[in-house]
């Protein structure tokens, strides 16, 4: 195959543009420009306010203890992990983001040490034939290997990654089918963990289903312009980014605090509709 072939082939393969992506969505691009500017403004303003209040260290989340020498020498083929998600007895660990990798023959070792448990993941990362099938490398812990109150430690990094828990979510969501999970990180920012559920039709909204993201987030996340909101027994913060409403609340967890955020996906809800959506869930 010559380089000339390659040029022709790439042109040929992209000749047919689907109708729904053929026209430039100028309105959507403008909207993104405005959102970018608003986010930048919010971040700068929030950091400025926190500097004034002397609270910048909070942006780093729960203080991380120095790595324990006893856990600082994991096996050479150990893999770092970013967060865990507990769903009843099932606990899954999600590895650091990888560029098109799947995990073969994973082995998990759990070593309890008082109120902590050192969780070591070993295995072979392999490049799959089709990167769209890769997802996030994930491994499941053996049943009952860690307690709900235990702090999990990744010996590769020496850190205590957040352990999100479906039990922290509103009761109404516990029986819902998991739509997917993911990690988001852009512009070298920290990764955030998301799980997504398909909710049933809320009684007071004219939508058939609404996909709702639960975002595991930094509990100290700045929510510029946010207002306190109590939903059921939960105290949180309601805020919006250019009219897209979000609800952030914090949950005590072993070793610190976790943040969760509700985000309706592909729905443009008014403030009243969003609060009605929140009220429609059973929170405890």
């Amino acid at each position: 195959m010559s380089t000339s072939d390659m040029r022709t082939l790439l042109d040929e393969a992209t000749r047919e543009l689907p109708a729904d992506v053929a026209r430039a969505p100028l309105g959507e691009i403008r909207h993104r420009v405005r959102r970018r500017r608003a986010r930048r403004t919010i971040t700068v303003a929030a950091v400025a306010a926190l500097v004034a209040a002397g609270l910048v260290p909070l942006l780093r989340g729960v203080p991380q203890p120095a790595p324990d020498p006893a856990v600082s020498r994991p096996p050479a083929n150990s893999l770092p992990w970013s967060f865990a998600y507990r769903d009843g007895e099932q606990v899954r660990l999600y590895l650091h983001r990888q560029d098109c990798q799947v995990l073969d023959a994973p082995v998990v070792a759990v070593e309890p040490q008082g109120n902590t448990a050192v969780v070591t993941v070993t295995g072979t990362l392999r490049r799959p034939d089709d990167c769209t099938r890769a997802g996030i490398p994930m491994v499941e812990l053996p049943p009952h290997s860690v307690g709900a109150g235990q702090i999990l430690v990744d010996p590769v990094t020496g850190r205590r990654p957040p352990v999100y828990d479906r039990a922290h979510l509103p009761v109404a969501w516990r029986g819902l089918e998991l739509n997917g999970y993911g990690a988001i990180s852009r512009d070298a920012g920290p990764e955030t963990f998301t799980v997504s559920y398909m909710t049933r039709k809320p009684k007071n909204l004219e939508v058939v289903t609404s996909q709702v993201d639960i975002v595991g987030t930094d509990p100290a996340k700045a929510t510029q312009g946010g207002v306190p909101l109590r939903v059921g027994p939960v105290d949180g913060v309601l805020y919006d980014v250019l009219g897209e409403y979000r609800f952030l609340w914090r949950v005590p967890a072993p070793g610190g605090e976790l943040g969760y955020e509700v985000t309706p996906v592909r729905l443009r809800l008014s403030r009243a509709e969003f609060i009605a959506l929140l009220d429609g869930f059973t929170w405890r």
Binding site: D5, L10, E16, A22, R35, D99, G135, G180, Y181
Partner: protein, 165 residues
């Protein structure tokens, strides 16, 4: 910024095509182009007079390489793709399918190099500068990518039998 809008309308199809070569998915390609254009908007006065297509395609490649998309299990394609009847019967859609499968078998950096070299027509030096790598690495990625693609059965048939070319 009327000239920005005018440029976007004119350049949109070719930018989306370049983005598809990276992502292998038209809607992700559209999302990627929108992201890049939104970032470019604030720098437009500097970009517009100096080969904006090349600049934006370089941005597509670098954004793609640093962009960690949500990996929804629900998005994992599971359906079996239909067998193709033969090279002579290849439609543009099937050509696209074969090329997509071949490109997705490449590491992302090699895909980015191929797009910049053979779709954006950047020189090796310009490709190296856009991706922040050496010219030698560009040559190496290009050679490895072409070797892999030559070994890809569907693509080899496509080129040797000359069906769509």
């Amino acid at each position: 910024m009327e000239d920005f809008d005018a440029y976007v309308v004119a350049a949109w199809p070719r930018l989306v095509r370049s983005a598809w070569l990276l992502t292998g998915d038209w809607h992700k390609a559209e999302d990627l182009v929108q992201t890049v254009l939104a970032r470019a908007y604030g720098r437009w006065s500097r970009i517009r007079d100096d080969a904006p297509d090349a600049y934006l395609r370089a941005m597509l490649a670098t954004t793609f390489l640093t962009w960690w998309r949500r990996k929804w299990r629900a998005e994992i394609p599971t359906e079996a793709l239909p067998e193709r009847a033969g090279a002579d019967a290849l439609s543009p859609v099937e050509t696209q399918r074969v090329v997509r499968a071949a490109l997705l078998s490449l590491p992302q950096q090699q895909r980015a190099v191929l797009m910049l070299r053979f779709h954006a027509d950047l020189t090796e030096a310009a490709t190296a500068a856009a991706l922040g790598i050496s010219v030698g690495t560009v040559k190496s990625y290009t050679a490895r990518a072409l070797t892999t693609l030559r070994g890809h059965a569907g693509l080899r048939d496509l080129v040797t039998e000359g069906a769509p070319l």
